[in-house]
Symmetry: D2
Subunit: 379 residues, 4 copies
């Protein structure tokens, strides 16, 4: 089986997400890092690309150069990952899709709903894969929860409660720290702070596990650190198409929470609980029964959960391998093989719409609003 | 030190809360169960009272008989606990207060805000103690958290996140179970189901630990089981007088949560986390420091936390002894000795008002409302 | 139901174990503290007894005075608890038994095996109850584990692994602290330090839950703090009559362990795990099945587990109420009613023998020795 | 930076450890899988090698062919991993070392002490790297614990308590399961079952974290399933050169333990606790202070711990990336760059000696024996 050729845009030296993508794409021997435009500083990007083993003629100075050159090659890369600053995702993703490349885009897919609608439209026109890196959905036990819900093992889902809260932005003295400041400044971060940064992962996960869509929401946003314009704490209540009630809390000032991303799904005949800091276990409580601990790798899990884990039961697999699972499914998808439920451009669109609608609700004292993008309201 | 004489109204055979009160009052040898009107069936109540060691002339058929007889005695009881069905709390509590008895009333103190205002007025007129059994506030480490917050050890409190959620009412087939049915029927339970039953403990705790008052709130209520009129799941956002943002989730259909009452308090310089199922530990995270585990009974805790625990570090003390701590403080209060912060009739009033206002908000699509009773809005 | 009359020897002001006994005896309204010889300082003891509500004529100056006076009364106490310094347990317990009183003795029952044999003999002769306060065995879920094992729910027990380890004696600078020093000085503590103090609880629990007896053992003792003569850390391997293999670790220098008493029982068809810091849950893993969480108070537990808990599921009950459960069963036993498995004088004897034999093994480089007292080796 | 060329012996299709090595070597882009003799079936091995992207001329039928061919190439592989059945490790490892290759050998390095001495000798003669895959030692927080101990942050280490226990071999009906049977059959597994399989990881870890060597030990072995000749449960007490007392329990019949590998290190001024199922946290308790949670990725950790983690705090990294860290350090070591403490052939030798000595002790009723190989007893 020949490895697929992989191109990376962004993710240069010092990038936070770059290492996870490089590991994710290469861990299982499915992709070879073949081309890259890794840095906004062209020379640094070319040098780092060659450090990583990319041939000099495919170590590009910027993404446009890469697009032109790769488009012209017969041995063009099979997949392009876009891991650049948020505001550039739209333009780059659209361009590569239009040129006939498959794309994995970091979240957020775009800054505006209109842009996101364009990406969805482009995917429809080109037939190319456009996945968005909601990588938490690729943990084996998250896939297993989705399967359990879909197969009716917990009955109709009444309630989803999720949060994604940390305390790493709690220090008010950090106001001028450039690593943080942009996140709460609308000029750089867009309409939303913490909800767009972390909360949206939780909202995506709710839809993913329930195999359902968020239709309405209301939001309460707070900027608990005085210097911030955008919210650093948010509560979002929502409803799903199937009637499920949702509760989502997200915060960046929750001192003591390191990475408090968990989700609880409560159905008519069972409940599930998963947390990202211990991703290899799910608590499952059947109605009128005892809570059971489901372990990654135990006998009897679905083929998909088994396929996405690499080492035996109780040998933990963590975040980088959840990213790797996205690449596992992308490789299968590119090759036309069976694969699991990848997060799509439509997921990206729904997320952008939900962020913008939550902002509107928060400004309107928590009024209920339609959570969906205009193009999907009839559905 | 002579024991105090204790009278109990309600809490008869088979009562769920009766055992906790009997244990709470007697565990530390502070009170003797001296008089009682324990059951709505007068004969059963008298018989059970005598089984519990109450003299036959103080084993009463109903509370009115008890009120009359005890009022006429020179050796009248020092404290009356009211543990009857909710709708009767107001009448009984008011009558005993007016007759000059100290009262510990089960929650809810009353069914309406007007009644609660009357109790507060009665307390002011009589000078008697009226405590409400928000017993979670009497755990040693809860008192310690309140002290830490009050002493500024976590800075100004930005955010409180609390929930009180269980799954014991998740079985739809239980709709006709009389133990559950009344809770979701407005004719019996009043205006609110799960929020009034459990959520209000969490709201009280937020105010108690922060030493602050809830001023505004908005609510999203859901009845996830079709047969129910009142809510079995609720999300309440709130604001406190000092500016703190609050988030409170409560549910009775959260399968897998047994007694999910926890509270997290996030300040400018530290965070705290406590959970009722492991009440002998608090997680404390100072800004820019590591999370620490505070243990009940460790050296260096406040005198109050030390006074309210009985056995050494890591020997767990549970719920019945939290109730006992309410009695410890009541005994001290009755004797005019120093004691901790008992939940008062004003707390009862604020709670009733918050419940009624949350119902109004929930009916009005989550509009923000004043959480306070009319008499306390100017404050 | 008239309360039983209770007498207490030792447990005076400042005693560590006294409060647990007073609470344990009185929490459920079963006993009235009627007589006491609470302190080696007669005046202090009498004053404290009266503070606790004991009538002045039954507030004794010492245990001999109490023995004489109570023996002469028609309304003598129904039960005497012996909570004095260890070296005095034998003499006092024996005297009260011989005078016809039921006794609850703190552990260790005696200092020597010969003394323990005498107590067992005395019990046989008098027909009186002599219980030893191995109170951990009275937690509802410990009783449930015993029932599960006895009923064959985990099959033949292959292996028991238990430890009781803390770090509260880890500070070498504490060498002269009188609260600690005696524990490691053979002149005051006897032949063993940490194993006799804590480890023996774990050894008793192994026998209790497995409903079996330890027959052989080997020990490795260490004094990790230079100033100590007796061991502060010990590992004991053992075998039970039914063939079960046992492993027991106990330490007082395990910094970070607060009260690390846990026990794991592994049978042919299931495993159990319980820990004293979260005594209201047991983990149960059936062969080829998932781990389940058993909760105190859940439906379907045995009558005995139900009888020994007071408040609903997930409302924690702690150490003082385990002691109270010993008194619950003592009251039933005194009244000739059905009750659970109280720790007996024979248990006390087996414990003393095991301690002495472990010391012999440790001195003999871990040689295997018979763990049983001479009188029980034929069995 | 040109990637290193990597050769793999064993680890073919269906191998349990093969995937972890392939992921470990390739995850960080440091090695390219260049040559392989993956299967005892030559054709299957060649086909699978080519599936994995190995060129056909370097997809070998067996290790001898690979040795000959690679030795003859100028572009020979830089590292050979030996992941074959245990009994073959010695021969293959020795041959590649002698031919001038660096080797990473799976544990156990050899079957006998004499063989292990030969490997150590061969390393000394050739100057090549021979690492043994005690990969748990490469978790970032394990390295941090070693650093803390070495820097004296918990004082002189008094006590190490570790266990590695699971219940995956608890089913007696599994006696004929070929996946399990060989493990308890001396003809296939050698002198020891569970202690050699899992326990030895714990013993290595004790030495690794304490930066000390085990000098003496005593063992109690049990075969709790009747069909087994070798032990499925063992307790080993040991002493280290610096005086530390050690306790090690290992079991394969501990139903409910999935992968119970944890280690506690207790020093004069602090305690540490780490568990392999949550490898991204360490509990640290300073003398007279509160327990603190150390998180992988937190600020202030050592350079080495930082270097060996890839994603931010609270994003878990699991077992496959611990294996990858072995390869990270091997790459650095091959390149002559600074690197952390890799497990060496001497570690492998000490482990084999300890296994053989434990067997002797167990047969001799737990007599204390020298734990060291003959060549290292003088040290």
């Amino acid at each position: 089986m020949v490895k697929l050729k992989w191109g990376l845009v962004g993710g240069g030296e010092g990038s936070q997400i770059g290492p996870a993508h490089r590991l994710g794409a290469q861990a299982d021997g499915l992709f070879t890092l073949t081309a890259g435009a890794l840095d906004h500083d062209a020379d640094r990007g070319r040098a780092f690309a060659q450090d990583l083993g990319i041939a000099s003629d495919r170590a590009y100075g910027d993404w446009a150069e890469m697009l032109a050159a790769e488009s012209a090659r017969e041995d063009r890369v099979d997949l392009v990952t876009v891991a650049t600053p948020n505001a550039t995702h739209f333009e780059i993703t659209k361009a590569f899709l239009q040129a006939g490349f498959h794309v994995l885009c970091e979240k957020p897919m775009t800054m505006t709903v209109a842009e996101a609608e364009e990406i969805v439209q482009t995917v429809a026109e080109t037939g190319k894969i456009c996945a968005v890196n909601y990588c938490y959905s690729a943990y084996p036990l998250v896939r297993e929860m989705r399967r359990m819900v879909t197969d009716g093992e917990i009955g109709k889902v009444r309630l989803v409660v999720t949060n994604f809260s940390h305390g790493h932005h709690a220090d008010a003295a950090d106001a001028d720290n450039p690593r943080l400041r942009w996140r709460y400044d609308p000029a750089m971060a867009g309409v939303s702070g913490q909800f767009a940064d972390c909360g949206i992962h939780a909202l995506h996960m709710a839809g993913f596990i329930c195999n359902d869509q968020v239709t309405a929401l209301q939001a309460d946003f707070a900027s608990t650190v005085a210097s911030r314009t955008l919210e650093d704490d948010a509560m979002v209540n929502f409803r799903m198409q199937g009637g499920t009630v949702g509760r989502l809390w997200t915060s960046s000032v929750a001192l003591g929470r390191q990475h408090g991303f968990d989700i609880q799904v409560f159905g008519e005949t069972g409940g599930l609980r998963w947390a990202s800091e211990q991703p290899n276990q799910v608590l499952y409580t059947p109605l009128n029964g005892r809570t059971q601990i489901i372990e990654k790798g135990e006998g009897g899990l679905s083929d998909e959960a088994a396929r996405l884990s690499r080492v035996p039961i109780a040998h933990p697999e963590g975040f980088p391998l959840a990213v790797a699972n996205i690449y596992v499914d992308l490789a299968a998808s590119i090759r036309g093989q069976p694969h699991g439920a990848l997060p799509t451009a439509e997921d990206g669109l729904r997320s952008i719409a939900a962020i913008h609608q939550a902002v509107i609700s928060a400004r309107d004292d928590g009024a209920w609003v339609d959570a969906r993008p205009p193009s999907l309201r009839g559905q």
